[in-house]
Amino acid sequence: MGLITSTGFFKYIPPNPKITSISSPTGNLGDTISIFGTDLDYVDNLYFGEDNLNFAILDNFQRIEFQVPFDPNTGVLEIKSNSFELTGNNKISFLPIFQIEDFNPKSASEGDTIIVSGKVLNSIISGNVYANPITDDIPYYFSGNRNLFCLDTSRNITDGPLFCEEFNINSEINSFRTQSISTFNLSSGRQIYLKFDKASDLSQKYYEVNIFAFPQIRQEYFESNQVALATGFSSFTVNLISGFPDTNYSVFYTSPFSGSTHYYSFIKNKTTGSFDIEFSNALLSGADFRYTAIKNTGFFYDSGEYKIYSSVVPAGYTSHVLPFENNKLYKPFLMSSIEKIDGQAIGDAYIGLNNYNFINNEFSLNIPNANPSHAFKVNYLTVFNSGTNLSTFLYDSTGSYLKKGYLAIGNQDNFQEKVPLTNITGVNKNILIFSIPDTNFHINGLIELVNSTGIAKKSNINIVETPIATQVLPIEGRRGTNVMIVGKSFKKPILIDGTGDYNGVIVRFRYADNIYLEKKNTFEADFLLINKNLLSGKIPIKNIPTGRYALQMISENGSLFE
């Protein structure tokens, strides 16, 4: 009565919950992110690392909405159903955008240590790599309209080819070489010559150049023929033996003059039927190595003919070109420069990629969990092989490596002065340490950190600068002799309104034999502020007797130098 029940049982056919996509692979903390799919009402848990996130099921069970959590630990979203098997991609890489929350101390002097704290400063990369990615700035300068020179001052490049990567410019590196020697086995301080394919982009205000070397991680050797070049060759052909994998190759040659081996890489693809490589006369004269890009990158048949020619016939050239000599096939690998902060080893390190797959000119890889036991910083993450054309910043679009930092004055959108930060060290994923650079401002500065996903800023940093004199030149002279005082902070840094001020330093000569300071034995000198770290004046011509004097600087806080 009222309720009737069947004797038989109805059997439910299980639903098919499926994940199809995510609204954004990255987001700020607290942002709302959507995961799309079907039958999502059967999703029971949404994990981000170890965090079990709250989520809402919307749009007829086709959308899950959640907020980017606070201080996540990994970069993988894992969607789970306790009742049914989830199809589709139930593990999605997700990268929260980092934030700066605070830094201490708020007031410090040049050289002091600042600790920055925040969220996701390790910039989780595609799921499993933990790092504090920092890229060293490399000084550079322009020459001419299209050439840029950069100076590697920090790295010890020992072996392997040299690569340059440009940031924030649309131009690509057309070619590069060393400025004065033909070898790539460089040492620190060598200048690198870069040639870009576009000149206009080089005028952009901010960009940086990174130089790094890499070792040969893995080589695969294949049989090939060697082609001897006759004297005065202008071109030669290479016959390749069939059976080569469908991948990227390098042509090696040995210079008859330097004896070193060089190579050029090209991409095997399937568009046309031939390719040319042109060598300049600089190469053939042995004085330098220079080449242009591959003229026609073409279809690389296993048994096809390939023409390599030089533009100038060298006299007495007797060496040979060895296409596929060694036949080095460079497999992709993930490269990072890891620097321990405990003062031990500093240098490049490589996160080996054990799981990669190379099929038809495309590769896939699994980013390893590179969270070491000690604090470190990753200077760059890249996947590349032997050729410059193949060098690719894997995470340029999705990664979040810290590219550079600045200390600036002004409002957040209009800097009055912007000073690059150097010596940034990552303590852990949430803490950075850097030294305050030499600036002309001292209050209400702000820190700006830039990575691939955006810019993080934190304002209200105050810098205390105390005037210090370190040297007087010359130490003796006649009346009227020019005297310079070298030191620091003779000028107060600018205030928030942009005005500067003299630091209140009085300079005077005090008679050295007068132990007790008496006004009659001191002579004030007229010194000019050359810059904030340099004062210039003259020994007074009148009213100063001959003798030994101490040059005394007195500021509002007392004697600074004598």
């Binding site: 009565m1 009222g2 309720l3 069947s6 038989g8 049982f9 109805f10 439910y12 639903p15 009742s83």
Partner: protein
């Protein structure tokens, strides 16, 4: 010795009742014989018929054996702590209040003196463990006129008249003769439709009961009759309440499910259910999940759309009917 009974041992029709209160009373029917001028009756004329009642209250625990006895036209055995006899169901009442146990009350009419002796029972079972609270009062209205939006409480009751059939020389009744039966449903709601007519409105309503914290309806209380009363009550600092009463005086043949096809399916599939007397079906469930929709194709056929289900174990098809 004083006995403190935490639970009462009561069997009705052979089934245990988790009674909270039982009162058995019966009295002899005697008639004093007065002669003219007598102030005192010297002779007592006893009648053989005993008039008594067994009144008991109990909590609904998922199964209500008394409800199924409403339509019985015969006596019902009871055993109250060892005291046994037959009775006839005269009243039955169920009270539904949100977040409160479902409290039932029933009364049996007795025409015979019970036999046996009473033994107190010491059962420490906490009767509240199995008590079913009202999960939701879900009333399906078959009338075109909407009754109200939200229901506050409900009271389902059944009552009848019962007389003994006795012939000359009988020492006890031969059977119970049932009089007019009446079933009613009182519904208290918060906002009664003011346009609801009280006279001549035929209303069908079925109240489904799901145990607390579940959505599986285990009992249905149906009524199809006439709206006989509506009232509006206001009291300071209390909710405004409306009350309507539906009364039924007839019997509608019960529905029954014969089978369904296909016997398996997924969300949004259409299932054909066959049976009888489907005209009064109000709601269709696949286990605890209510069908997205259903269509009564005829007295013997209903099609229902499989609802979403989180628990996809095999489920019985359930229907709330007004029968």
């Amino acid at each position: 010795m004083f006995y403190n009974s935490k639970n009462v041992n009561l069997k009705i029709d052979g089934q245990d009742i988790l009674a909270t209160e039982v009162q058995l009373s019966y009295e002899a029917q005697i008639a004093p014989y007065y002669q003219l001028g007598d102030q005192y009756a010297e002779r007592i004329v006893p009648e053989n018929i005993i008039q008594g009642s067994l009144n008991f209250s109990y909590y609904y625990t998922g199964v209500d054996p008394i409800k199924n006895l409403i339509s019985r036209n015969d006596s019902i055995d009871f055993d109250y702590g060892g005291i046994k006899e037959k009775g006839y169901l005269k009243n039955y009442n169920v009270r539904f209040s949100p977040h409160n146990p479902i409290l039932c009350n029933a009364e049996l009419t007795l025409f015979r003196a019970p036999t046996g002796s009473f033994s107190p029972v010491y059962n420490n079972t906490d009767i509240l463990e199995n008590v079913v609270h009202v999960n939701n009062i879900s009333i399906t209205n078959f009338n075109d006129q909407n009754i109200s939006g939200s229901y506050l409480s409900a009271n389902y009751s059944y009552t009848t008249e019962i007389r003994p059939e006795i012939y000359i020389g009988d020492t006890q009744e031969r059977r119970g003769v049932f009089g007019p039966r009446e079933t009613s449903l009182n519904i208290v709601c918060d906002n009664l439709n003011p346009l609801l007519e009280v006279s001549g409105i035929k209303v069908g309503a079925v109240l489904g009961v799901a145990p607390f914290s579940t959505s599986l309806i285990t009992q249905g209380y149906a009524i199809t009759g006439f709206l006989t009363k509506k009232s509006l009550q206001s009291r300071s600092e209390e909710l405004l309440t409306n009350e309507i009463t539906i009364k039924q005086f007839n019997v509608i043949e019960e529905a029954e499910i014969y089978g369904f096809t296909p016997t398996s399916g997924r969300y949004r599939d259409k299932i054909v259910i066959t049976g009888k007397n489907f005209n009064y079906v109000a709601r269709v469930f696949f286990g605890e999940y209510e069908a997205d929709s259903f269509t009564i194709l005829g007295e013997n056929t209903i099609t229902a759309i499989v609802p979403r289900a989180r628990n996809i174990s095999n489920q019985q098809i359930r229907m709330l009917t007004l029968a």
